[in-house]
């Protein structure tokens, strides 16, 4: 079973964004699939030959991210870690771990990549097993220098709540390193470079819940019904409680990095009330748009 799209709801604004920018002839546009989701890159200005080199570099980055973080590629670094319980990790993997740890702290533990055993069990169509909670918890992951190890047997991580955001950031960085800063990168999440772009936020029913005009920012949306488990539950699983009333139907976070936006939006789905959202807006997030199951929207 392949979860090709983590999110059913996308921030569906590639076209809208491009239109707002006024896509010029000289813009280089690429569309494809990255980390199991539709992806697109738009580069503005610059020498076309250099743009091609930058694009090649960006695609290489995407491929590298897949090799590191894919849960479905048995040869990926993440799969190796989950199988072996430890990994001599590459720098980019460690960098993502650092962001994951930071987000875990910021969200009071709601964002936790170690829920994979719960996810795997739910995906197989089984009832939750309380015994599994012994092997869940970010604090059981030890990162010693470049070595990542699980402290308990049977642990596993999923980076599906953050890897797309991280990949979006890395692609954006790669393009910038080649001199292209006026970019619009969508590798599962959106990152807008030195340009302004209008991004629509899709509501739970496919309607437009809002519109954000952004520059030098990233935006990510998580939806509780983005991908449903065989039992009918949401794909976003609570690291501490088996059955929990989800906080929000969808959460959209604008933050400086897509990785942070991605991880925070994932955690916000699990957090009822506006308390966490308010604390985040005063910290790493710039704007948060929440929508409840009734379609009521709260913008912070």
């Amino acid at each position: 079973m392949k979860v090709s799209r983590r999110r059913f709801l996308a921030i569906s604004a590639v076209a809208a964004g491009a239109a707002a920018l006024g896509l010029r002839d000289r813009d280089l546009h690429w569309q494809g699939v990255a980390l199991g989701a539709d992806a697109s890159l738009t580069l503005s200005g610059g020498d076309p030959q250099k743009a091609q080199i930058a694009l090649a570099a960006a695609l290489d980055t995407i491929r590298r991210m897949e090799r590191l973080f894919s849960l479905y590629d048995p040869a990926s670094a993440l799969s190796v870690l989950n199988r072996a319980g430890s990994l001599e990790a590459e720098p980019e993997f460690l960098r993502l771990m650092a962001i994951a740890g930071e987000t875990h702290r910021l969200t009071g533990g709601l964002f936790d990549p170690t829920v994979q055993p719960l996810f795997a069990r739910a995906l197989a169509g089984h009832q939750p097993d309380p015994a599994l909670y012994d092997r869940i918890g970010w604090h059981h992951v030890s990162i010693n220098s470049s070595r990542i190890s699980y402290e308990r047997p049977g642990m596993a991580m999923t980076l599906n709540g953050i890897a797309q955001g991280f990949a979006t950031d890395r692609v954006s960085e790669t393009l910038a390193a080649h001199g292209f800063t006026a970019t619009l990168v969508n590798v599962g999440e959106f990152k807008i470079g030195n340009r302004s772009a209008s991004i629509g936020v899709a509501g739970t029913n496919g309607d437009l819940a809002g519109q954000l005009t952004l520059e030098n920012a990233a935006v990510a949306t998580s939806a509780s019904n983005g991908f449903m488990l065989p039992g009918g539950g949401s794909h976003i699983l609570h690291p501490q409680m088996a059955s929990v009333a989800l906080g929000w139907a969808s959460a959209t976070v604008v933050a400086p990095t897509a990785a942070m936006a991605d991880a925070l939006s994932t955690a916000l789905i699990l957090s009822p009330g506006e308390e966490l959202a308010r604390s985040l807006v005063s910290g790493p997030a710039r704007t948060i748009v929440l929508q409840d199951t009734a379609g009521q929207t709260v913008t912070l």
Binding site: I53, D60, R63, A75, L94, S146, A177
Partner: protein, 704 residues
Amino acid sequence: MGGLFKTLIKMLTALALCLAAALPLLAAEGKLMTREEAASFVEPPYMLGESIGPGAWELINLDSRVAGYGFESEPLAPLPGFSGAPINIFVQITIEGRFIDTKLVSHNEPIFVSGLGEAPLRAFLSQYKGRSITDSLVVGVPYGGKNDASSLVYLDGVTKATASVRIAHESILGAAQAIAREKMEGLGARSSARPDPAVQEALTWDDLVAKGIATRRLVTNSEVQAAFTGTKFADDDPEALDNPEAAYLDLWVVDVGPPSVAAAVFEKDTLAQLKQFLSISPDAEPVLVIEAGRHGLVTDEFIRNTSPDLLSAEQGGLPVALRDADLSIELKSGVPQGVALVLRTDRRLGFNPAAEWTLKVRALRAHGSFQPEMGQVDFSTPVTTPERFFIVEEAVRADPLWMQAISSRIPDLAALAILLALVFTANGPLMSRFAGLANYRAIRLAILAVVTGFVGWWGQGQLSIVTVLGVVRGVAQGADMSFLLYDSFALLLWIAVLVSFVIWGRALFCGWLCPFGAMQEFADVLGRWLRLPQLSVPAKLDAVLVNLKYVVLALLVATALYAPALNDKLVEVEPFKTAVTTFFVREWYYVAYAGGLLLLSMVLFKGFCRYLCPLGAVMAIGGLLRGRKWIARRAECGSPCQLCKVKCSYKAIKPSGAIAYNECFGCLDCVRIHDDVRQCVPLVLAGKGRALPQPRPRATQVTA
């Protein structure tokens, strides 16, 4: 006519019952095997790893890496076998696509259930070990000659089970290719290419760049810095921080296998060296890499003529081995200067220079001065060299199976076609003359001898109820029926039989083309020669018994759909496998049964054919398509003359003189009598200037 109509109603009712029974479609689909079951097929050093799909698992080697895949063929390639049920095989392949093993899980192939037994099938399956799924594997056929010049890899087939092993073969390849497509991108559709010495183009370095023949990969300092940001290696490369816009890696990649490309980049001496190198290693593909940044391509530990430690390549998701070719390189002016290496890879290992491949360059950073810790990030670039520089050999495609099935048996098919033409003509336009020949009886027996020997024993063309049941299952369960195509000899016979339905009804097959029917006729001849007393079945009992075959057929159809295992046993009511396929070399009870039927027909003419044979029932039903009454009758036939009725060994002539075509085997005895002035009573009398008396209310028997 009324009788025929009644029979028709009877048959249709039987057919309707079978179909109604089929409607709920309790398709007997095989259950997926459990992990434990699958594990029992896997032998050390491999272990079963994670599940990758229904009935498919990773194979883990001792080093805990994924070494291959193990999978059931049935869920991936559910090809119905001869019995209608798939042949399920547990296939194990390495990640390079080599067969580790193929083991039989389950099957229902009648020929292997009993008869030959499973040993030949297992022996057949053992041939896959070590072969690659990219090999052009063909099931060799004992009938045809092998072409030693072709690059096809022949697997020994199993005589008399050609269709079954072909289906097994297709199942294995189908499943393996499904896994390869999913897991080993690009494998299985690989064609190889080598540089074409005939392509000579005057090229300069600028041309190579402009035409995309030379590939550039630029990694800036800021890009590599970004890859290490947030780790302890972030500050270990001051130059990357100081000079973010400058190149860290400025890589050029050129495949210098094509002579004109090599001529565009190398000075004379290097060209001569390259030529010398390629003459020693004709299967090597040389690749030039130039690095004009500060990466340097290799570490200090690099040893010439070995694999470069920082460079690697892959194609179609599989690694490509790279080695330094150890050439001293002098580049032409205009070519970017820097660290240059000529790497070699081996086309024999599957590298296809005409297809896209990927070169990966590893960036290293060391942290700490004493026993430093190393951090690494791989940067990669796709490389494509235009196909026009290569001779591309399309992967040899084996002909489709049905075509192989035909081409391997052309002599047999030709002989069969001649035989069929003969039988059709003799029973068609020339029927009266044929039946009237003085030595008709001898000719008929000769033809039957050919049918037994050539069609039956040599050609293995005994049509069987098993095929019919396979079709019924295929139709009811919507399965693929391509298995019909795999036995071209039987297929030609089936086509002929379908045509004959329209012309003669069941008669042509049952009377002329059925090897076991022919054997029974010989038994009858023998019985009469031995002057054995003949059993006479009372007409009333006979009328009941002739319908028994429809009951047998209905039973077989029902069990084929609901109880395939029971069906496998019940189809043995047909002694064809014993008598034709295995030449009576089989378990004693099968031999006793088939032999018993032959002995029986020494005293009861074709008892099996007329009362029991389910295939005969099918033929009788098919015979309803008959479009003409092909046996001429006279007004006197039946009233008062009963000669033909009495003479008919099949009891297929009614007292009224009408032919019961659904019981007629086309022996032509009555045709012969009808035209014979010395036998046909009305003709004999007419010859003497007399006529038969007016019909009387009841027919009396007239003996010859």
